[in-house]
Subunit: 430 residues, 2 copies
């Protein structure tokens, strides 16, 4: 794992400590000049102002650095004093056989603290930062404030987004708290990182113990301990099953989607959650054997607009004399907390359990938290690993959303078999 | 320091360890489906291929993730086996009073390892990644490989640049090693971070102990111990001195730049390094008292093109009968290693000591290491804190480079006093 590099080695002092930890963390010429300035009273007490100038016009510091953070760091620098060991070091620096700094200057430094600063944020996102006072005091700010600004800037640009991702997780918690809905984490596959997923799930378990019903991640469920891992089946089952029919008989291909369910139900009668959208939800429900409506506990909605799919499945149950209040619906496709709330408000009362699988927006909530950059490469992107071949033939997925379809030419033939009723193009976010 | 957040909490396992540390770090349905697939021999052994698809066309993974890193992580996942405690956990998961997973499946998992993968990089910067083999084995790759890809991608985007900054530091070392030149670090003010500066200086001290003569940073010089901090004076001295003349008499203003040097030389005869460019180098040298050429040890070149300034100062010394071989010249303005080498090759032999102050390109060498983004906000930017007012008047700097000038209207009056001979606009990098 040779090329990776630990960022903790680049940004520290622990990143929540003061950036400037010593008044010696500055350029030497401030001291040679400092002693020089102190030598002449008429110079030492001159009223001066030092000001920040960003010469790069397109860099607007206040759009990147939170002003409160800059204040905290400047205030922390004002709390610093020269330590005895630091004064001893300066006192000991040689100059041509003698000492570089005389006692008068060392005495001055031993009482020194940085003077006050003036900080304002302009309307166009810049800092108006200046330091006014006697030259002999104000001069030291330059090479203290500049590295503070630099480090805060790059920290915010390169690292601060993790703080913002965390803040967003806390907002998600507040938003999901509004309704009495339940949800599971399905975000393993596109998580930002293992640690971020773990942190998000820890927050959910602590903040929403009744609403967060668990994660699909087995390792994290085992670690978290409060609920067993969640999951049933995925599209690869009907996709591969369709390729295992003999002689590619159209009727057999069509029947294969139900054969999978039949076999599944034999093995896991208690886990009978249908995933009807592989070749289109409408054709699946229309032609499904009655026992599937009667015996299967729930349906996962993974590519059709869930407002539409919810009504469609409810009608299907009702057509088979099944009370939706005894059944479960699980929307799980690209959900955001807001979308989850809206769906629950709209449909929650219509079925026994209306619960959600939330993925990327929980575990990779980095979209838009990056300052300045709107490059799509900095958003969560749509990536999948899917079965593409089985038994020597291309596999096909039609999906309710043609954007998720796959299978090339063979898909055209599948469209003839399954039809395209109820399929609607929707933009893929993840 | 409330808003900051430690990135080490987001990217770990320590970032040089395998991302996937357990075969349980995957979605639950892979196991429910896995047992299902194993139940039917005709399905279990079906030859399948699973393939990576990035649906976001503008995301080219191989431009961001180093292929060797992806291989290392995939190989590390192949080294994993189910641990006894993990098998016990799976064996213990309940289903409606009984067990979810039967002994046959647990036995299968106890011998399981991920099968081989095929990885190629396409000419347009994408990964061609696929997994082929019996369905019962290949199916597990999907939810292992996807989080590996996600984490490597975001790690590289958000953190990997620090590895590249370090690699660049090592290149800088190799480049500076080519000639027998010496240099000091002047990069405190625009450093990327304290830790990065410290790391760079540690590398320089170890790799170039004879060429790296020290840093201007007092704290780091004290820590490093091998040389005393380096520095003399800066533009604020003549800028403020010019405002301390009585009645703003033009002749007095002009003389003030020499008065500063005179006072400085009285206090620090051993540190007599001239900084002649505050109001223009040409006028400074032309009108300087002869003793300054004779008694001052060196000149720092901080805004004029150093090719030009070097010749100008050498001529000035020669005009005063001073042998340049007894003197020091210190270019210090926006230098890169390449520029330093070129200057040294061109001029190194002409003066006794031709040494360099290198700043931002040592301590904030992040330009261009960022994948995808060419936003100027991700480059080092030009920022200064300068004295802007003294003794109730605006301060003025004319500089040899008008891009560095300041002082507004009062600068116009200073131009009348000092003239503008030898000033040439040059693009500011930092």
């Amino acid at each position: 794992m040779s090329n990776l590099f630990n960022i903790a080695d680049v940004f520290a002092p622990a990143s929540d400590e003061p950036i400037i930890q010593s008044l010696l963390d500055t350029d030497m010429y401030k001291f040679t000049m400092g002693q020089f300035i102190n030598t002449y009273d008429d110079w030492a007490d001159t009223e001066t102002t030092f000001s920040l100038t960003v010469r790069s016009d397109d860099v607007r510091l206040a759009e990147v650095i939170p002003p409160a953070q800059l204040r905290e760091q400047l205030d922390a620098a004002r709390d610093l004093r020269f330590q005895p060991s630091e004064l001893a070091y300066l006192r000991g620096l040689p100059l041509d056989g003698g000492r570089l700094f005389g006692d008068a200057y060392i005495d001055f430094l031993s009482d020194f603290r940085l003077p006050e600063y003036d900080l304002e944020v302009t309307d166009d996102g810049r800092f108006d930062l200046s330091f006014s006072g006697p030259w002999k005091e104000v001069t030291y700010w330059e090479t203290i404030a500049l590295p503070i600004i630099s480090e805060l800037y790059y920290y915010s640009l390169f690292v601060g987004l993790y703080g913002r991702m965390l803040e967003r997780t806390l907002s998600t918690v507040e938003e999901l708290r509004l309704y009495d809905l339940t949800f599971a984490d399905f975000g393993t596959r596109r998580r930002h990182s293992f640690q971020h997923q773990r942190q998000v799930l820890d927050i959910l378990a602590e903040q929403l113990p009744k609403q967060y019903i668990g994660t699909s991640n087995v390792y994290l469920a085992k670690q978290q301990g409060s609920s067993n891992p969640i999951g049933t089946n995925a599209h690869e089952l009907p996709m591969i099953a369709a390729n295992l029919t003999e002689h590619d008989d159209p009727e057999e291909v069509r029947r294969s989607q139900y054969e999978v369910v039949k076999r599944w139900h034999e093995i896991y009668p208690e886990l009978s959650v249908l995933l009807p959208d592989t070749f289109g939800t409408s054709q699946f429900l229309e032609n499904a054997p009655a026992w599937m409506a009667e015996d299967c506990q729930g349906v996962r909605l993974d590519s059709k607009d869930p407002d539409v799919a919810t009504e469609e499945v409810i009608s299907w149950w009702q057509d088979h004399g099944v009370d939706p209040q005894d059944r479960t619906l699980i929307p799980s496709d690209g959900l955001t907390p807001t979308r989850v709330n809206n769906l629950y408000r709209q449909h929650g009362h219509k079925v026994g359990t209306y619960t959600f699988g939330i993925g990327t927006n929980l575990t990779n909530n980095c979209a838009g938290v990056w300052p300045r950059t709107h490059d799509p490469g900095y958003e969560p992107f749509s990536v999948v690993i899917k079965v593409t071949e089985a038994a020597g033939k291309k596999t096909v997925k039609l999906s309710d959303n043609p954007e998720k379809a796959q299978g090339g030419e063979r898909a055209e033939w599948f469209k003839d078999i399954f039809g395209t009723s109820g399929r609607t193009k929707q933009k893929l976010t993840v």
